[in-house]
């Protein structure tokens, strides 16, 4: 059974089509990474799934509930971890959790709070106000708040955006634990590494549509081949390397100070300069090739 099923979903804001005939199916028990650049429609998709946006057309089903009509019942069974920190900063850690345990109608609020505190590793800070916590602690609390009612499905909207690497790694460990526990996760992100590390499957979203989907290794193999050659040098040299590779039908993209020749294993002799740095093809190559956007 699918935890999430979207068929031909459209959402427009005036002249802008944020979600453009989206078809998406998330089977139970997997972590699906919704990978796309800013403005791809990921956050709007998340809002559609919580009933905070109403589709202009299409069918949405979450945990067997039809949306938007039955959105409230669907929300009772899912947890949402937002992109922006919206904790009550003057209130204690445990009160933040207790409030949401009540909103989710958890029968034993105290036990739910204790469980969430353990998950966030904040038991010893339970009586501290949120604004006394570090950035990493606040993020862990935000995640625990979305899990206080032990949901079947979790929506993670850019869970580590704007965080420093150490906090990001902490969050990844927590999300990894959830994933191992069999919770269904839909995670929107524009961080390649995040999708690669956490997602069983990745759906690349661009301009409101899923343009490719599969396991990270499958996507790499399908779109980027085996290896990528990065050529460094002055602009004229990069332009020359690009021209040569493109004349052989190879995909080339900018990669910071270099050009990356994707699928370089199939290049004819001479197409790849001898001093090029050859590495395994990556999800980043796929992302940039498919969306035309620089990866983060």
């Amino acid at each position: 059974m699918s935890a999430i099923r979207l068929r031909g979903v459209f959402k427009r804001f005036g002249p802008i089509t944020a979600v453009d005939g989206l078809d998406l199916e998330v089977p139970e028990g997997i972590c699906l990474g919704l990978l796309g650049p800013n403005g791809a429609g990921k956050s709007t998709t998340m809002r559609l799934l919580t009933g905070q946006a109403i589709p202009d057309a299409g069918e949405l089903q979450v945990l067997g509930h039809e949306l938007p009509a039955d959105a409230k019942a669907a929300r009772a069974e899912m947890g949402v971890v937002p992109q922006l920190d919206n904790l009550d900063v003057d209130v204690t850690v445990e009160d933040n959790l207790a409030i949401f345990a009540r909103l989710y109608r958890v029968p034993d609020v105290g036990a739910a709070v204790d469980r969430a505190l353990d998950l966030a590793r904040l038991r010893d800070r339970r009586r501290d106000a949120v604004d006394e916590l570090s950035g990493g602690m606040r993020r862990r609390l935000l995640l625990a708040r979305g899990l206080v009612h032990e949901p079947k499905l979790i929506l993670l909207d850019e869970p580590t955006v704007g965080l420093d690497p150490q906090i990001r790694t902490e969050l990844w460990a927590l999300i990894g634990e959830l994933r191992s526990g069999g919770t269904t996760i839909l995670m929107s992100t524009h961080y390649i590494e995040e999708a690669e590390r956490l997602a069983d499957e990745v759906a690349v979203m661009h301009k409101g549509k899923i343009i490719s989907r599969g396991k990270p290794v499958e996507l790499i193999s399908e779109h980027a081949g085996v290896q990528t050659a990065e050529v460094y040098g002055p602009p004229e040299r990069l332009a020359e390397a690009r021209e040569t590779a493109e004349s052989q039908g190879l995909a080339v993209r900018a990669a910071g100070p270099a050009v990356a020749i994707v699928g370089s294993e199939s290049a004819a002799n001479g197409a790849i300069p001898e001093d090029a740095v050859v590495r395994a093809a990556s999800l980043e190559d796929v992302f940039v090739l498919l969306t035309g956007e620089e990866a983060e």
């Binding site: 109403i54 409230k72 409030i99």
Partner: protein, 255 residues
């Protein structure tokens, strides 16, 4: 799931209570001090120099009973306007709440109920202060918290609706200047509206604050049959602003 579930409303109100515990001292201090200052300035100051009594009521008691309405509008409309705007735009609180099994109707209802309860309580403070200044307690005063609560519900709904309407927080200046200040001044708090031009008197009858002032004075000095109509008017005002607030907030919160 049902509409207007008590559990959802209670959950949101528990959030308000948890936050209130962090700032109740300042709010309570100002709620008690303000009517004392007003009574000293207007009640004692004016009654000593210009006005001794109004319609047979000592001026300090006339102002003190009227100040209940002032306390209600300033502890309901303004917190509803600014609080709702801040929670929506700056704190993203409503995004978090609406991701739980709560709908906009429950959210607005809970916010209004919380403000109504709080304002209904603080609205009684001027009356207590006036008793300390010599007003005789009366059984009818026991109904004042109810009058304050219902009026505060109406102004909370008004404030929430305004918060869902303005584009920027500084636009509340227009709301304050064009609505709240006139309502506050033409409520009969500081002077009887019978002295105003006839047209203004008619408009004042539509002012919920004026109806509250009359009900509070009824509680203190004796009710009249027309007070039933006044209370019904306040209930109607609360129901109207409740529905308008829900509609405005739905448009603002749901894309």
């Amino acid at each position: 799931m049902r509409r207007l579930e008590p559990a959802a409303i209670a959950g949101i109100m528990s959030r308000e209570l948890a936050n209130f515990r962090t700032y109740w001292k300042g709010t309570t201090f100002s709620s008690v001090l303000e009517p004392i200052v007003y009574l000293l300035a207007f009640g004692l100051g004016l009654s000593a120099t210009l006005v001794d009594e109004v319609n047979g009521v000592p001026y300090i008691q006339f102002v003190g009973t009227g100040m209940v309405a002032t306390a209600v509008i300033f502890s309901s409309a303004l917190p509803a306007m600014f609080g709702t705007f801040v929670k929506h735009r700056f704190q993203n609180t409503y995004d978090a709440i609406l991701a739980a099994p709560v709908d906009v109707e429950e959210l607005v209802t809970a916010e209004m109920l919380w403000i109504g309860l709080r304002s209904g309580t603080y609205g009684c403070v001027p009356l207590l202060v006036t008793i300390a200044f010599g007003l005789d307690p009366a059984w009818g005063m026991l109904l004042v918290p109810l009058f304050c609560f219902v009026t505060a519900l109406g102004f909370a709904g008004f404030g929430v609706a305004m918060a869902a309407t303005v584009a920027k927080i500084d636009q509340f200046n227009y709301v304050t200047a064009l609505c709240i200040t006139p309502l506050f001044l033409v409520a009969g708090t500081f002077f009887p509206i019978e002295g105003l031009p006839e047209g203004v008197q008619v408009v004042a009858q539509l002012n919920p604050l004026h109806q509250l002032v009359e009900l509070v004075r009824g509680g203190a000095f004796g009710f009249e049959p027309v007070d039933i109509a006044r209370f019904a008017f306040l209930i109607g005002f609360a129901l109207l602003t409740w529905r308008v607030a829900i509609s405005r907030m739905y448009n603002r919160l749901i894309d």
